[in-house]
C-alpha cells in the first residue's frame, strides 16, 4: 500500500518541484514524514499543468498549486531526502 500525505504547497522551486507543509498523514503509512518536505512530482493530476515538464513554466505551477491543498502518493525518497510523488488536488474547500 502506498504512503499518502496531504498538505499545502508553500513554495514552487521548479517546474516539477515544490515545498510542502504536511498537515495530514495516512494512518497506515509505513514511513514518517516531517512537517515540511520537498516534493518532486512524476505525475500531477491538475488540469492546468501539462504532463510534459518541457511545456510548463514556474508561473503556471504557482497559479495552479501555490497555497493549494494537495494529496501526494509517495513513490520514493531520495538519498538527499526529497520525496518523489504523484500529486493530486485533494477534495475541495467548498462547492
Amino acid at each position: 500500500m502506498t504512503d499518502i500525505i496531504w498538505g499545502t504547497a508553500t513554495k514552487i522551486i521548479d517546474v516539477d518541484k515544490f515545498e510542502m507543509n504536511i498537515t495530514h498523514r495516512k494512518e497506515e503509512n509505513k514511513n514518517s514524514y516531517a512537517d515540511n518536505e520537498v516534493v518532486i512530482f512524476t505525475e500531477i493530476d491538475i488540469m492546468s499543468i501539462s504532463g510534459d515538464p518541457g511545456m510548463r513554466t514556474i508561473t503556471q505551477i504557482e497559479d495552479a498549486i501555490q497555497d493549494k491543498f494537495l494529496k501526494c502518493e509517495i513513490e520514493s525518497r531520495s538519498n538527499d531526502g526529497i520525496l518523489t510523488c504523484k500529486v493530486f488536488h485533494s477534495g475541495a474547500g467548498g462547492y
Binding site: 498538505g7 491538475i46 488540469m47 495552479a64 497555497d67 485533494s90 477534495g91 475541495a92 474547500g93 462547492y95
Partner: protein, 235 residues
Amino acid sequence: MLGVIPAIILKNAISKKSCKQISEKIIQLHQMSKYGTNSKHIGVSLNSHLNSKDLYFEKTRHLDEKLKHVFSETEDPRFTMHNLLSVAFDKQISPARENGNLYSNGIFRIHDCNDSFHVHRDNASFEACGFNVAKLTNQLSSVLHLQTASSGGELVLYQKIWKRDDEKFRFPDFGYSKDVISNSEFIKIKPDIGDVIIINPIHYHAVSRVVGVLQRISVGFFLGQATKSTLFCWS
C-alpha cells in the same frame, strides 16, 4: 465592509404550494435515478470536476435534458430564481458559458436526518482555475429553500472570511477543521419554505445537523459578476 450584513433573505420568493410540488418531483427523481441513496444531490458540481472539464459539461447537458422533462409542467425553480434575482439586483442573469458549453444551472440538495454540512467556503477564483467562472468577481451564493427540516438544518454563517493561509486547516475530503473559525462570531439562519438566502460565500459557513424525519431540500447556485450589468451563474 465585509461581514456587516450577513445575508439577504428574499421572503416568500416562491409559494409554499410550488415548493411542495417541486420537492415532490425532486424526491421522486432522486429515488428513481442512478444517483442512488449515497448521493444527496441532483445536479453537477464544478468542484467535483476540477480536473475533468469535459465530463462536467457532458453531465450538465445530460441533466439539463432530464430536468426539462421533470419541470415540463411546473416551474423550474432555477429559472424562477434567475428572474427574481435579476429584478432584485437590477442586472441581467444567465448561466455561465464556456466554449459554447453551458455551466450547471444549480444543484438540488437533500439533507436527511443527522446530515449536516461541514465548515467550508466557496471561492471559484481560487479553486477553479482553468474554468472561465474563476475570472468572475464578487461571487455570491443563492439558495432557495424548498422544504425545511422540523429542527436543525440552519445555515450557520461565521464572521470570518477565508484567506490563503487558512488552507492549512483543510480536511482531505472536504472543508475545514473547526479550528479555522474558533473564536469567530456567528449567526444561525433558520430558513422558511420559499425563502431565497443570498450570502457572500467567502465567509465560512456550515449547515447544522438536521433533526427529525423531514428532509431539508434546497436548490442553489453561485453568481459572479462579468460586467457592471451582467451576472453569470453556475454550480
